[in-house]
Symmetry: C2
Subunit: 358 residues, 2 copies
Amino acid sequence: MIEILEKIAKEASEKTNIKLYRRSVERILSALQVTSDFWKIVDYADQPVPAASEIIKLLIKEGYVTVENEELYLTEKGLELVKELGIPPYVDYTCQACEGRGIPFYANIDWYRAFVQLTKDRPKAVQEYDQGSVTPETTVSRVLFLDSREDLRDREILVMGAEDDLTGLAVALTGLAKKVLILDIDERAIEFDNKIFKELGINNAEARVFDLRNPFPEEWIGAFDVFITDPPETVKAFKAFIARGISALKGEGSAGYFGLTLRDSSINRWQQFQRALINDYGMVITDIIQDFNAYMNWEYHDQTKAAQISPVKKSPTDIWYRSAWYRIEALPGFKGENVQIKDEVFRELYLDEEGSTT
Amino acid sequence: MIEILEKIAKEASEKTNIKLYRRSVERILSALQVTSDFWKIVDYADQPVPAASEIIKLLIKEGYVTVENEELYLTEKGLELVKELGIPPYVDYTCQACEGRGIPFYANIDWYRAFVQLTKDRPKAVQEYDQGSVTPETTVSRVLFLDSREDLRDREILVMGAEDDLTGLAVALTGLAKKVLILDIDERAIEFDNKIFKELGINNAEARVFDLRNPFPEEWIGAFDVFITDPPETVKAFKAFIARGISALKGEGSAGYFGLTLRDSSINRWQQFQRALINDYGMVITDIIQDFNAYMNWEYHDQTKAAQISPVKKSPTDIWYRSAWYRIEALPGFKGENVQIKDEVFRELYLDEEGSTT
């Protein structure tokens, strides 16, 4: 019966152009044992949305799964398959205190309170810029994480995009960094940050409208201890963003942070990312914490490719989009790149087979 | 003044033959701001013991650090240096509930209780086999981690060495794995496990005396869903152990788990390990959780190289030796190796410049 999984993986691969294998199907079947919600299945199974969707459609076609009121259930045949192949259910032991991050967001409750109060009128996420903001607990935990790795106090910190998460703002609000430079293409986020900096008299932080496809000016090269970003998940765009961030690092021991998801990219692509980090850029990976970053449901969900290809019409009712938190460190011989990113590289994002939430 | 750090890093590098850089010295100075205990400094600074020791000796020589009653303190000159260079103090936000693992050991309290009760007469760690057992909380958290990644239930699991941690026993005690094979060179651990299996009537688990330098018999090749190990931290020995584990994996989606420390290996060496995992063996790294594994103070501490090279004569009073928890996954094209490990590779362990606790 194991051939059934191989067959479904193969068919779903051909249909989606995403490399899938038996384990991909197994993970969907693990999730189906504990939830009937499509978005939770994607979350638990750590599969790109198009992959999860196609696998489920094939499971439905083969009679292993059935749809009732936009919920997904294993049929008797499906339950038998799971039992026969010994496919375990998804089990969740996530720490309730720290939400699985290893650092609780309330470790510095003042930072959390200040951040939440100051950002209650934050701009809403928009599809145009591929936004979908992380929870305030995520943002504050990122700052705590930096601090715990000596990457916050007296450091010069560069925040590259994704400022709808307000990570740069949260870093600056601690008052502990030496300098914070926040870059984002979205004027609303930049204005929001600068207004708060002005109101609070924070003068070592600056937010600037900047298109990260463009090269950095000379004065930013080799000028920062830390960069933080949330790169697009195509290989070329990932490499371009990360290489640019690395070019801004001062030297050995400088660090980069970014989120990387398995909702918009496959585990195969992760390997390509890791290969680039180590072989091309001379970095070492010091941390990979799964599900560190929890994203709030964005308002434009119904307009996404994800919503369109979903096997059911039900929208998410809870957090389902998460990404892992990577920390990388520069070692002797590290090198970045600071070249113009061509439009076609960026356009690939919207044609990408694995991505679906942009 | 930054040149002082560069100079100390360079001198310590030459003396120890470990690649060190400014950040290595900075991290020692970060730790020195919050503790006077040498072993806690090693823990907080994530540096190999010989590196931490040499850096501190140089800091003492240059008048930045002083020793009083076997405790280490920054001198006034040292405090000025730290202030001048803006070197932040080490800050600890570790979640108290899960000890920073993201999964609390009490998530399945029955597993924890059973494990602790059954193992109260466990064999003591001995130096001969490079032992130093992890805490029961660590062992049980490993099992919970496997379960949360669908690497426990109905899986065939191979535990390669380090059974003084009793990880194989804890896995078997859940009764959820399909099969557990435990290999260790230490007869005491093997007998201990088999006695419990017999007493409890567990018949899908087996512990065998096996020297992991020897190749696996044909029937173990490609026969397991999961391997768990705690490899030696020299490059050759690491590669040999991990490659052997990978050769035992069934296929794509099969997983390997191991601990990797920064107490007995440098961050530079981590990069070599990561390069091997990705380039040579076709694996992808899915998780790196720092300080997941906490080791109890072994009784033979005074006989270790670590104790001999320490800048002070005080023994550890608390847990200071920790390792990160790696999970790796096999992708299409992955490949292991199952060759005899030559004695000289293994002997290198004891001549290794970065290691000191074996």
